[in-house]
């Protein structure tokens, strides 16, 4: 019965979405207030219906109702309840339902929190949002119905992929979806602005919190995904340049660019066309991300629904959304009034340069991801893949100037700045970082110049972030508590995010240069050394878990006189027969000790266990930095400027009307 209720609610949602796609738009064109108001109610109703549908599916998973095909295929009785619930979105159909749920929640958010929006703009945004809903709802209903029944009903279900039976899965996909789908809102903002022919500072101010609302969970999701891969996949990597990782990274890069260009549009009325283009691209890349995972066009560990028919549907959606939006952009954007001009050395030009570099980075990732597809089209026998060497070669030289710019940017004044003034501001930080770099080279040796440069760059970012606060708190009359208290949340956000980037940079530089590893066959009592870590195997035994059997090995790990015990397991899940590795990780702020076991093997001295030992210096900083960035975004989102009504600036050419900060 629940399955039918859920299915029915899904169908009703589609009908509501169709009405919402048409009527508010019509209202905006005709100036009919009632039709525009319908959009707001419809958005709320849509969210309610889809929540019912999703709730039904989740309950079915909770009850382990194997008469539903999806439940039978993705959960087993032996699976803990939490993972049975998480299995709701650990499969293609359920994740599509989650996607539309998130989409409609954002839609309801625009209806609820968009009181200060121009009504015609809000109506158009809600219409565009509903068009996206219609496409995805139709996709879910017609190609991947989650409520399909199964007969005869099996006694037990097939298990969820054991790799996914992990707390990481419970949060990783929903966070990513919040990010991907969040960019649908900025997309709708962009399309609505093009339809209205108006993208002014007020428009940018309305849109900015929605950019943040997508960017923050996306940042969390990517960070969590990287962390999950690190401890679950069992070979200690934290980023693989896997197509699906790239698929989440590209919207992040574009989203970051959008975040910054929207500031320029908000404060100065400039770059409106560029901001619109970025808003369109951010969502398009999210769609392409989905397309990559679902279609099987690129093979990847993440692919869980390799099905060309769905691929065709998603490709049609991408062409419909992105193609239409870009065509609209080509037709309308040249007519948008551009804002105030700015000097070649100014905050605006700094942000423009930041945008260009982020775009270039996105292009690099895009090319690396799609090169195999393009090559195959050109010469069909050529199946190639693009790996880390390409990214190291091309990505790093582009990202370095960007990171240098991150600290300089906030020192620049709006509109016009002077090189001499900038030079004076830069004197102290540049000297400090040069000293740090010299010290690092002396300490690490000239052979590790690259690592020293990376660490110095991290220091440069953190110092730059701290300096923003210093400049804010020490006014003309020296340090003042009043200035501390009145620091806008957005400034705190900037500081946290830029400092986070610094921690991530330092972590990556150290990991790349100083990680140590050793793979060998060990027997109880033996000791092995990797970098500064010394590992002794104590013993190994077979153990039984809730739904798996495992070989568990115990180790003592010592480093600099400190000892700790670590346990690593190799699990075999009894229902599916798949194997996973649970690594033993000794976490500390300065680095992680990582021990993972493999198969039983023979070597010259008899039978033993394959053991991989790693020393990962500062690896935790990579994720700590990601977390700081997300917190920075959240802090910015809390800025009260977004909650007070935006001034209705008639002319974008009047920057004085925008309150200066």
């Amino acid at each position: 019965m629940l399955a039918e209720i859920g299915h029915f609610a899904l169908i009703l949602t589609l009908l509501v979405a169709i009405a919402q796609a048409v009527l508010p738009m019509l209202g905006a064109i005709r100036g009919d207030a009632a039709l525009m108001a319908f959009g707001r109610s419809a958005a709320a109703l849509q969210a309610l219906l889809i929540a019912i549908s999703f709730g039904c599916l989740m309950t079915l998973f909770g009850q382990a109702d194997f008469s539903v095909k999806l439940v039978a295929n993705h959960s087993a009785l032996s699976q803990p309840l939490a993972y049975r619930l998480a299995a709701t979105w650990g499969n293609h159909e359920g994740s599509m339902l989650l996607w539309v749920l998130v989409l409609s929640i954002y839609g309801a958010g625009i209806a609820k929190f968009g009181d200060n929006l121009r009504v015609t703009l809000q109506a158009r945004i809600l219409s565009v949002q509903a068009m996206i809903s219609v496409a995805f709802l139709a996709f879910a209903l017609f190609t991947s119905n989650p409520f399909e029944r199964l007969f005869p009903v099996p006694l037990d279900g097939a298990e969820l992929n054991p790799l996914l039976q992990d707390p990481g899965l419970v949060f990783h996909p929903p966070l990513l979806y919040l990010g991907y789908v969040g960019f649908s809102v900025t997309f709708s903002f962009a399309v609505a602005a093009l339809l209205e022919g108006r993208a002014d500072p007020a428009w940018a101010r309305w849109m900015r919190p929605w950019v943040l609302a997508a960017w923050v969970p996306l940042t969390c999701g990517i960070t969590l995904g990287s962390f999950w891969a690190y401890y679950e996949l069992g070979w200690g990597g934290w980023w693989f340049w896997d197509p699906v990782e790239n698929a989440s990274f590209m919207p992040w890069l574009i989203g970051t660019a959008l975040l910054h260009s929207a500031i320029v549009t908000e404060k100065r009325g400039s770059l409106a066309g560029w901001t619109i283009l970025l808003a369109i691209l951010a969502f398009s890349l999210s769609l392409i991300g989905t397309f990559l995972v679902r279609s099987g066009i690129l093979t990847s560990v993440h692919a869980f629904a390799v099905d060309p028919e769905r691929g065709v549907f998603i490709l049609a959606m991408i062409i419909g959304a992105t193609g239409t939006a870009l065509a609209l952009f080509a037709a309308r954007a040249p007519m948008l009034r551009s804002g105030a001009l700015f000097g070649s050395i100014s905050r605006e030009s700094g942000l423009t340069f930041n945008n260009l570099l982020l775009m270039a980075l996105t292009a690099v990732v895009f090319l690396g991801t799609f090169y195999p597809v393009i090559m195959e089209a050109v010469s069909p026998t050529n199946k190639i893949s693009v790996g880390p060497p390409y990214y190291n070669l091309v990505f790093v030289p582009l990202v370095a100037p960007l990171l240098i710019l991150v600290t300089i940017g906030p020192m620049l004044s709006w509109k016009r700045d002077d090189l001499a003034v900038l030079g004076k501001k830069l004197l102290v930080p540049v000297a400090a970082i040069a000293a740090l770099l010299a010290g690092l080279v002396l300490w690490l040796g000239t052979a590790q110049v690259v690592a020293a440069l990376g660490l110095a760059l991290g220091g440069w970012l953190v110092l730059g972030a701290v300096l923003v606060l210093v400049r804010r708190w020490w006014g003309a009359g020296g340090f003042s508590w009043r200035l501390v208290r009145t620091t806008p949340a957005a400034t705190v956000g900037l500081v946290l995010a830029h400092a986070g980037l610094g921690f991530t940079t330092a972590g990556i530089a150290t990991m790349t240069s100083f990680a140590a590893e050793k793979i060998l066959v060990m027997r109880p009592g033996e000791t092995a050394v990797a970098g500064p870590v010394s590992v002794t195997m104590l013993g190994a035994e077979e153990v039984d878990g809730a739904n798996y059997r495992a070989l568990r090995a115990r180790f003592t790990v010592s480093q600099n006189g400190n000892e700790r015990a670590l346990v690593s397991e190799r699990r075999i899940y009894t229902v599916s027969g798949s194997q996973t590795t649970e690594a033993g990780i000794g976490v500390s702020p300065l680095g992680n000790q990582y021990v993972a076991i493999g198969d039983v093997q023979q070597d010259a001295r008899g039978q033993g266990l394959v053991v991989r030992i790693y020393w990962h210096p500062l690896v935790g900083w990579i994720w700590f930095g990601g977390l700081l960035m997300a917190m920075g975004g959240a802090a910015s989102l809390a800025d009260r400027r977004f909650r007070i009504g935006a001034p209705q600036v008639r002319s974008p050419l009047a920057p004085n009307l925008v309150p200066a900060e």
Binding site: S295, I297, L298, P308, A330, P334, F370, E376, Q601
Partner: protein
């Protein structure tokens, strides 16, 4: 001039969409094996009987003289019981099928064959999984078509379905038989 700049994104996107559309027509599972038209990698494997050392096993040197199928399987593999009737049929039609039990304890392999029947003309045990690495095996089951001269001519990833047998592998085997 300025207008052209604004049209550029939509043109670039049209090109991309064309490539993506083309990509959809390709089957990502069709990974060409590096071994096609090359000699079978050398291996000498023990058998799976309970005799000391596993009894008579399987060696790459024996793949000469007539075309044969080499099936990599395991008792723990979920798709293998499904493929098994097809293998029995192939053997009954007079085409020799040889097997490598991959990462499988000999007693488990024996139990599997005792339960489902034994269509294999010869069987080697690759418990350490080394030979499978040389063969580029990505999962079980996989089947190689080896010609009279011991060269790999075709690789089937995943179970052989009756359709694959009738439509692809049997015609190939018949062609290979006719080859000089």
């Amino acid at each position: 001039m300025k207008r052209v700049l604004f049209i550029l994104p939509v043109i670039a996107f049209a090109g991309l969409a064309a490539f993506l559309g083309f990509g959809l027509t390709q089957d990502p599972k069709e990974l060409p094996s590096q071994l096609i038209d090359r000699p079978l990698p050398e291996f000498v494997l023990p058998g799976i009987t309970d005799a000391p050392g596993g009894g008579p096993g399987l060696a790459s040197a024996s793949f000469k003289g007539e075309p044969r199928l080499l099936n990599v399987w395991a008792s723990w593999c979920a798709a293998c019981p499904q493929e098994h009737p097809v293998l029995e049929r192939i053997a009954a039609e007079g085409f020799p099928v040889y097997g490598i039990a991959w990462k499988d304890k000999p007693e488990d392999s024996r139990a599997f064959l005792a339960r489902y029947g034994d269509p294999y003309s010869g069987m080697g045990s690759d418990f350490p999984g080394r030979t499978a690495i040389d063969l580029g095996v990505t999962g079980a089951p996989e089947t190689f078509v080896v010609d009279k001269k011991g060269r790999v001519r075709f690789k089937q990833i995943g179970p052989i379905s009756p359709e694959v047998w009738e439509g692809q592998i049997r015609p190939l085997m018949q062609k290979l038989r006719a080859e000089a």
